[in-house]
């Protein structure tokens, strides 16, 4: 791949970096990243990866833009309310960078479709909003052997970890299975500082770019936690769990299944 004059200008601030250079930029342009969820985490990740010139960006989400999303899901604008999230996200990514090929999947990630969707991508970003989906992404990436970034946010806290399946600590090594539905904070109790999604989603995009370029130290075997009130970042080292039901010594999960859990929808909880 040869960079055009336009591209050399567009990506000049990358190319000037010793660790990226023209070769690194070409690598990004030929890379493929899939974002699961066009929500709070997926929004900044999609925008930055598009701006960075990641050649193919896939995005999967079954929802439509809702007014309550706009407080944090910065890829969607006021005029997009009611529009499919993947279509809204695609339009913004294309507007930022016509170099990027965007693939949209207007569907819910489920056990019977996710492996096909993620296959062929170099890296996956988990920007899902519920626990069954997070386990599904973890397990699917394990079976397809695709590196991914897991993240979660709640109120003023966020955390993320990068997983190289079969090599480093996975989500199931830490959290064995989705919590019982009645333990999950109800919609009215939970909330999230909008900008927190931006911080954590941008960190996920950073991990994707580093992975694609093969530079720096990834958050593998390390959960990075962040609290917006104290401004404290902590790295928690987490070893692989030999008892992990997925990647441990005696795996019990040998095929992809949907984990059952009731997911409440913010819209239904407004009182």
């Amino acid at each position: 791949m040869e960079l055009t004059e336009q591209q050399i200008q567009r990506y000049s601030r990358h190319i000037i970096l010793e660790q990226v250079g023209g070769t690194g930029q070409e690598k990004l342009l030929s890379s493929k990243v899939l974002i699961v969820g066009a929500g709070g985490l997926g929004a900044p990740a999609a925008l930055y990866l598009a701006a960075a010139g990641v050649g193919t960006i896939g995005i999967i989400d079954a929802d439509k833009v809702d007014l309550t999303n706009l407080q944090r899901q910065i890829i969607h604008h006021t005029g997009d309310v009611g529009v499919e999230k993947v279509a809204s996200a695609e339009a913004k990514m294309r507007a930022i960078n016509p170099d990027v090929k965007v693939k949209t999947y207007h569907q819910r990630a489920k056990a019977d479709n996710i492996r096909e969707v993620i296959r062929g991508y170099d890296f996956v970003i988990d920007g899902t909003d519920n626990f069954p989906a997070k386990f599904l992404v973890n397990d699917a990436c394990y079976f397809e052997k695709i590196a991914f970034s897991h993240a979660g946010i709640l109120r003023f806290d966020g955390q993320l970890i990068t997983v190289l399946p079969g090599q480093t600590t996975c989500y199931r090594c830490i959290f064995h299975a989705p919590p019982p539905a009645d333990a999950v904070p109800s919609c009215s109790q939970a909330g999230v500082l909008g900008v927190l999604a931006g911080v954590v989603g941008s960190l996920q995009a950073t991990e994707a770019i580093k992975y694609l370029l093969g530079i720096g130290d990834l958050l593998t075997g390390t959960l990075l936690t962040y609290n917006a009130l104290t401004m404290e970042f902590r790295k928690v080292r987490l070893k692989r769990n030999p008892e992990c039901r997925l990647c441990g010594e005696n795996p019990q999960i040998t095929e992809l299944k949907d984990e059952e859990q009731i997911v409440c929808d913010l819209k239904d909880c407004k009182r």
Binding site: G37, A38, G39, G40, L41, G42, D61, D63, N69, Q73, K85, G127, T128, D129, N130, F131, K134, A151, G152, I153, L154, R155, D157, G158, Q159, C173, I174, F175, H176, P179, P180, A183, V184, P185, C187, A190, G191, V192, A197, V200, L223, R234, V236, R237, L238, K239, N241, E243, V263, C264, D265, L266
Partner: protein, 71 residues
């Protein structure tokens, strides 16, 4: 005894179990917490039977959703 919980040193009475520590730390929903003790992730069934010792490093790891829905 001294425990290091999520990086912070705190004093506790001797012989506390992980389960009791969760209560003492006012963790409202233990189902939403995973516990790492000295670098080892514990099974939930081990919480009540695991006694803590001086200088143990405990990490409470919380389930967090994200993105677009319940959070």
């Amino acid at each position: 005894m001294k425990l290091i919980i999520n990086g912070k040193e705190t004093d506790f009475s001797d012989g506390l179990t992980v389960g009791e520590l969760l209560v003492e730390q006012k963790v409202k929903m233990p189902e939403m917490v995973s516990v790492e003790l000295n670098g080892q992730i514990l099974r939930r069934a081990q919480f009540e039977s695991t006694a803590l010792e001086d200088n143990d490093k405990v990490e409470f790891l919380y389930f967090m959703g994200g993105g677009s829905g319940i959070n």
